[in-house]
Symmetry: D2
Subunit: 167 residues, 4 copies
């Protein structure tokens, strides 16, 4: 057998909005239902935590890529904690380890993950309705960033990418 | 639930001896039987590959922490591939992410993993019968390096460490 | 004595425009004239290379933080090559090691550097005239991103930041 | 011009013996006198600090590769601080960035640096008189580890390696 399919969900930590939290939970739930592994930044806050809880609510498997040198602050909904001690450099590991990457809203950390994905010639599904953000990425990388408005639209794209062996 | 227990098995790649390969397979098998997750350096050679195959032979879950920027060279017995692109710096991630660390023989890479484990105040179970290696580590770090001669002795120590919450 | 002041200049590699190359050379020259150390991503292309050549044209000292495992592709205008083998993860080292960060135009890599700077609570001087880029960062991080149109304006801000011990 | 020659000196931090401190200072002094750049782990303790002070005593240039996310704890004798935020993973950067590597005594961190150097197919000059350490490395990597007893012997080897373009 080969390695299993991993879908990464990136987004804000402490600054996540309640709408982003809801969407992240729904993304995690749908990822778990589809039998994919969920990968996040692993901390017990914001989008990371909500997506992991969503995946666990349906019995999915969750990986958390932690920035520090131990498991301090890991989400209780993370099954497998990878302890990197590379600080924000772990954002590059997040994107490289995900077969498909979903950004759920935009903060500084998420922006670095989208940018690192693009730099590594990867595609990103970006869940946002913000006009300025959409215009910015449409200008910067129209063939690599796919804008969606709802979690189920993101999941539909994930299916399409995985079927195309888009890894 | 909290994150699951991970046992790391480190050892030589291309230069592994047939004895080390056999012991690594047995370590992986016993780790899988005990319901722990196996973590290795993920490549399709040597101790990494044999331990992963051993774990899969009994239905265990296997993680591979890869040094490169994609999954090239990943062992077919790795379920979850973490792509780090930090080269040999991934050896630090190997030891930090393992609740218990077993070194199956000694090469340059394994030596770096043992040393990084010690530097991070972690304990290491070292499977070796080499007199010089034993004397070296007994001098360097007698309270952190535990010498064993057989895979089953290593596993007995893992049980003891995990029961003591030695993480 | 304490460590010397380092000004980082980030920008596109192979895809840099001739205008960006000219501006990078001018930035490097002004950084060298001011007695600051120049830090770049170290490769022999684009903004990195031009800024390093500009600094050397006036006898400045240049550091290059390389992504690979050896000095392959290093700019001939780099005095001190730091070999990281952390791939694009070196972008985090670029921003953390710079007392002041200047982004000369925007590509995927530069975008990751700006984002990582913001995530690390650092300020960035962004040399651009692109309306969409300006609007995006004005929305995202108005207190951390400073837009300028000319190299000399960037250097004026660097002086101001260093005088304020803004490190 | 091409990048300047960098000699790395590795050794214990807080646990360094007074003899190791003296030898590190002398190594730094000789490296500075020879016009090479000194690279260390950058902290204000032990071998790192003493070597940097030795190099500065003769006007040498010193680089410190720091493990944390800012300059906290940097040696006052470091001219150029590289801030990596990769924890002990910075030990791999230390060895990759040094044209020649000298280990001044052995601790867990230094052992990881020697091991990572060997893993990266690099040579190491090891300053020690400890019989067990000498026997261990003579067994493990006789063609890559060069044992010396005095700082001046280490420097003689550095000259030989640099003349051979042994990089």
């Amino acid at each position: 057998m080969a390695s299993q399919k991993i879908v990464g969900v990136m987004g804000k930590g402490n600054l996540a909005t309640s709408r982003e939290i809801d969407q992240a939970y729904e993304l995690g739930r749908l990822i778990g239902e589809n039998g994919w592994i969920l990968l996040t930044g692993g901390r017990n806050v914001g989008v990371m935590n909500a997506a992991s809880e969503g995946a666990k609510s349906v019995g999915g498997l969750t990986i958390g890529i932690l920035p520090g040198k131990d498991k301090t602050g890991v989400s209780q909904a993370v099954d497998i904690a990878i302890v990197t001690d590379v600080g924000n450099g772990r954002n590059n590991i997040n994107v490289l380890s995900s077969d498909v990457i979903i950004a759920c809203g935009i903060g500084a950390g998420t922006l670095s993950e989208i940018a690192l994905a693009l730099k590594n010639n990867r595609q990103v599904i970006l869940l946002t309705t913000d006009r300025v953000t959409i215009e910015f990425f449409t200008n910067l990388a129209p063939e690599q960033v796919f804008i969606v408005h709802q979690p189920q639209d993101a999941i539909a794209l994930v299916k399409q990418f995985l079927e195309n062996d888009d890894i």
